[in-house]
C-alpha cells in the first residue's frame, strides 16, 4: 500500500468529503441497528422524521444546534492553530457559572446592556480557564490535550459544589440548581412556539465573525500559519506563542458563550446536567466542517439532528439512544479518512 500526494486538491472532493463521511458512519452504524433487530432504512427514516419531520422537531433541532455551533467554533478555531482544546465542556460550564454569578441578581441592567454583559463575562470566564493550559503549553511544553481534559472534571466538580452549597436555590425543592437568571438577562424566544431562542442568531453571527476573522484578518492569517507550520511561521516573524495564546482565549470564549446560551437562552437557570457532552460533540462538529467556521453551522445542524432524531427513534424502536453518540464518534473517524482522501490517493501495490 502506498500513499501518494495528489497534485491538486479539487474543490468537489473537499465538498464531497463530509457527506461521504456521514454516509460511511451511517453504514457502519447500521450494523448496530440490525443487531437491535430493527429495519435499517425505516429506523434511519424515523431518525430523520424525529429531527426534521415537523415544525416542532425542526425547532428542537435548531435549538440543540445552538450550543453545538459555539462549541464547534471553539474547536474549529483552536484546531486550526493545532491547539487541541478538548476542554470545551468545562469552558461551557465556566461561561454558565459566570452568567449565573452576575445574572441572578448581583447586577441589574436594562436588557439591552444586560444580555451583552452576560455574554461578555461568560466568554471571558471560558477563556480565562484556558490561560493555565495554554501557558503550560507555550512555556513548558505540557500537552494541552491532557490538561484541558482534566480541567473538565475539576470544573464540573466545582459547579457541583456551588450548586449543592452556596449557590443552591432555596426554592428548588432540594435539586442542585442555581437561582434563575433575572428577566433582564433572559434571551427571548424567536418563535411563538418551541424553545428556539435568540442564542441561535448569536451563534450564526459568531460563526460569521469567526469566518471573517480567519479569512480576512492578520490574526486569522497568523492562526492558520502557526497551524500549518509553527517553526516556519516563527521564522517569518509571527509571534507563535502570542498567536497560540490568542487562539486559546478566542476558543475558550466561544465555548463559554455556549454555556451562557444554555443558561440565559434555554434553561433560565444553571443545573449540573446543563450539557450532555456538547463540548465533546463540538469536536465532531468542527471536524465534519473541516474546521471551516461557516461549515460548522451545517455540521452542528447535522449532529444536532442525530441527537434529536435518535431520541425520537429510540422511543419507537428497541434501539438504545446511545446510537447517537456512536454515530457522532464514528463520524469523527470517518471524516478523518475522507478528508485525507481529498489530498492523497492510496495505491495498492
Amino acid at each position: 500500500m502506498r500513499i501518494e500526494t495528489r497534485q491538486e486538491v479539487a474543490l468537489w472532493r473537499v465538498l464531497l468529503a463530509p457527506p461521504l463521511a456521514v454516509l460511511a458512519a451511517l453504514v457502519l452504524g447500521a450494523g448496530l441497528i440490525i443487531w437491535a433487530g430493527e429495519p435499517v432504512l425505516a429506523s434511519y427514516f424515523a431518525l430523520l422524521k424525529g429531527s426534521l419531520g415537523s415544525s416542532f422537531a425542526l425547532n428542537e433541532t435548531l435549538t440543540r444546534s445552538t450550543p453545538l455551533i459555539f462549541t464547534g467554533l471553539a474547536a474549529a478555531v483552536a484546531f486550526r492553530a493545532k491547539f487541541y482544546n478538548i476542554g470545551a465542556e468545562g469552558q461551557l460550564y465556566c461561561g454558565a457559572l459566570a452568567a449565573t454569578f452576575f445574572g441572578t441578581g448581583l447586577i441589574s441592567l436594562p436588557p439591552v446592556l444586560m444580555v451583552p454583559f452576560l455574554m461578555l463575562v461568560g466568554a471571558m470566564s471560558g477563556g480565562a480557564i484556558l490561560i493555565v493550559p495554554v501557558l503550560l503549553k507555550t512555556h513548558m511544553k505540557v500537552d494541552e490535550v491532557v490538561t484541558t481534559l482534566l480541567l473538565n472534571f475539576v470544573i464540573l466538580l466545582l459547579a457541583g459544589y456551588l450548586l449543592e452549597g452556596p449557590w443552591k436555590d432555596p426554592m428548588s425543592l432540594g435539586w442542585p440548581q442555581a437561582a434563575p437568571i433575572i428577566d433582564e438577562g433572559i434571551w427571548p424566544p424567536l418563535l411563538a412556539k418551541g424553545r428556539l431562542h435568540l442564542g441561535f442568531i448569536f451563534a450564526l453571527v459568531a460563526a460569521l465573525l469567526a469566518w471573517a476573522l480567519m479569512r480576512f484578518t492578520v490574526w486569522g492569517y497568523e492562526i492558520r500559519a502557526v497551524g500549518l507550520n509553527a517553526s516556519a511561521a516563527g521564522f517569518a516573524g509571527i509571534g507563535v506563542n502570542a498567536t497560540v495564546i490568542r487562539t486559546a482565549l478566542i476558543s475558550g470564549g466561544l465555548a463559554g458563550l455556549a454555556g451562557v446560551s444554555e443558561v440565559a437562552g434555554l434553561k433560565g437557570y444553571l443545573t449540573l446536567d446543563l450539557s450532555p457532552g456538547f463540548g465533546y460533540a463540538g469536536i465532531a462538529v468542527a471536524m465534519l466542517a473541516q474546521l471551516h467556521p461557516l461549515g460548522v453551522i451545517l455540521s452542528a445542524f447535522f449532529i444536532s439532528a442525530v441527537y434529536v432524531g435518535a431520541d425520537a427513534m429510540s422511543r419507537s424502536t428497541d434501539i438504545p439512544t446511545y446510537i447517537a453518540d456512536v454515530l457522532v464518534g464514528l463520524s469523527v473517524l470517518t471524516i478523518l479518512v475522507s478528508v485525507m482522501l481529498t489530498r492523497y490517493r492510496i495505491r495498492w501495490s
Binding site: 500500500m1 502506498r2 500513499i3 448496530l32 443487531w35 437491535a36 484546531f79 487541541y84 478538548i86 493555565v132 503550560l136 513548558m140 511544553k141 505540557v142 500537552d143 490535550v145 491532557v146 490538561t147 481534559l149 482534566l150 480541567l151 473538565n152 472534571f153 475539576v154 466538580l157 466545582l158 457541583g160 459544589y161 449543592e164 452549597g165 465533546y280 469536536i283 465532531a284 471536524m287 428497541d318 438504545p320 446511545y322 446510537i323 453518540d325 456512536v326 457522532v328 464518534g329 464514528l330 469523527v332 473517524l333 478523518l336 479518512v337 485525507m340
Partner: protein
C-alpha cells in the same frame, strides 16, 4: 491534623487501598507508555478502558469465567488498538483527533452494547469478582502482608507487569525495535525492520493493557458496570506517562504516589467532616495530574518521533 494524617499512613488499610487504586492506573499507564515509546500517542485510552471494563464484566455476567473475561477484554482492547494504528500508523492521520474519536466511539459503543444486552437493568447487576488471594507466608508479615500480599490475582498481575514491560522494552531486541521506532524510525527501517508493523504491534499490546486496566475496575475493584465509571482515569494515565518520563519503573513510582494521595484524600475527607466540601477532595486527582506534568515537563525527554507519522521513502 498533621498527626491524624500520620496516623493514617501507619494503617495497613491505607496501604492496601493504595495498592488497590494503583492497579488499574499502572496497567493503563504501562499501556500508554508502550504506545508512546513506539511513537504513537494513544488518546483512545479513556474509551478503550471503558470498553475493557464493559467487555470483561459482560463476559463473566454471561457465564464466562474471570480469566476468560480478562483475555476477552485484552482481545477487544487489541482490536481497538489495531483500529487506532490503521489510522495513525498506516494512514498517518492526526493522532490527537483519532484518539479522541476512538474514545468517543469506544465509550458510546460500550454503553450501547451494555444497553442492548441488558435493556431493563435499572440497578446495575453484579458478578462475583476476583477474590483476594493471600500469598501463604508472605501475607503474615505485619502491614506489608496485608497491603501487598493479600490482594486479588489481578493486582499481582498488574504489579508484575511493571518489571516484565521494563525487561522487554529495555533488555530485548524486540524492545529495542519498539523504542527505536519511537526515536528514529528511519534507522529501524534501514535495519530491515518494518516500522509500521512494530508500531502497530506496540499500539495493539498497549491497548490490551489499557483494556485490562479497565476490566480491573469492574472485575476486581467493583462488581458492576456503571456509566461513566472510568471517570477520567485514562487521562490521568496519559499524565502519569509524562510524569514518568516514559520509564516503566518511574511509572510505578508515580502511580503509587498518586494512588497513595488518592487513598489519603478519601480518609482525610472523613477526618475533615463537613469542614471541607467533598467535591474539593474529588478534584485532587485531576489537579495532582496537572501538577505532576508541570513538575516533570522541563526534564521530560519525549520519544523523538512521538506524533510523527512514518511514511516509507519520505526524507526526514
Amino acid at each position: 491534623m498533621i498527626g491524624d494524617i500520620f496516623e493514617i499512613l501507619l494503617t495497613a488499610g491505607f496501604w492496601a487501598a493504595t495498592i488497590r487504586i494503583v492497579s488499574p492506573l499502572i496497567l493503563g499507564t504501562l499501556g500508554e507508555l508502550i504506545c508512546e515509546r513506539a511513537g504513537v500517542l494513544n488518546l483512545g485510552i479513556e474509551g478503550i478502558m471503558t470498553m475493557g471494563a464493559m467487555a470483561g464484566w459482560m463476559w463473566v455476567f454471561q457465564g464466562g469465567d474471570l480469566w476468560g473475561g480478562i483475555v476477552f477484554a485484552a482481545f477487544i482492547g487489541a482490536l481497538f488498538g489495531l483500529f487506532h494504528a490503521s489510522f495513525t500508523v498506516y494512514l498517518g492521520l492526526s493522532q490527537h483527533v483519532t484518539g479522541i474519536g476512538i474514545t468517543l466511539f469506544a465509550s458510546s459503543l460500550s454503553y450501547y452494547v451494555f444497553r442492548m444486552l441488558l435493556p431493563d437493568a435499572t440497578t446495575p447487576p453484579k458478578i462475583v469478582p476476583f477474590q483476594p488471594y493471600a500469598i501463604p507466608g508472605l501475607s503474615d508479615i505485619p502491614v506489608i502482608g496485608e497491603a501487598l500480599f493479600s490482594q486479588t490475582p489481578l493486582t499481582y498481575l498488574a504489579l508484575l507487569s511493571v518489571p516484565a514491560v521494563w525487561y522487554v522494552l529495555e533488555r530485548t531486541p524486540l524492545g529495542l525495535a519498539v523504542r527505536m521506532a519511537g526515536e528514529n524510525p528511519v534507522a529501524v527501517e534501514s535495519q530491515g525492520i518494518d516500522v509500521l508493523a512494530v508500531r502497530t504491534g506496540a499500539v495493539m499490546v498497549g491497548s490490551a493493557f489499557m483494556a485490562i486496566g479497565g476490566a480491573f475496575i469492574t472485575m476486581s475493584a467493583f462488581d458492576a458496570f456503571y456509566f461513566g465509571m472510568i471517570n477520567g482515569r485514562g487521562w490521568i494515565c496519559v499524565a502519569l506517562v509524562i510524569f514518568a518520563s516514559w520509564r516503566p519503573g518511574k511509572a510505578l513510582l508515580g502511580a503509587l504516589l498518586f494512588a497513595g494521595l488518592d487513598a489519603l484524600q478519601v480518609r482525610a475527607q472523613q477526618l475533615a467532616g463537613a469542614q471541607i466540601p467533598y467535591q474539593f477532595f474529588l478534584m485532587a486527582p485531576y489537579v495532582l495530574s496537572i501538577a505532576a506534568m508541570v513538575v516533570m515537563a522541563r526534564r521530560a525527554s519525549y520519544p523523538k518521533a512521538l506524533l510523527v507519522p512514518f511514511r516509507r521513502g519520505d526524507r526526514v
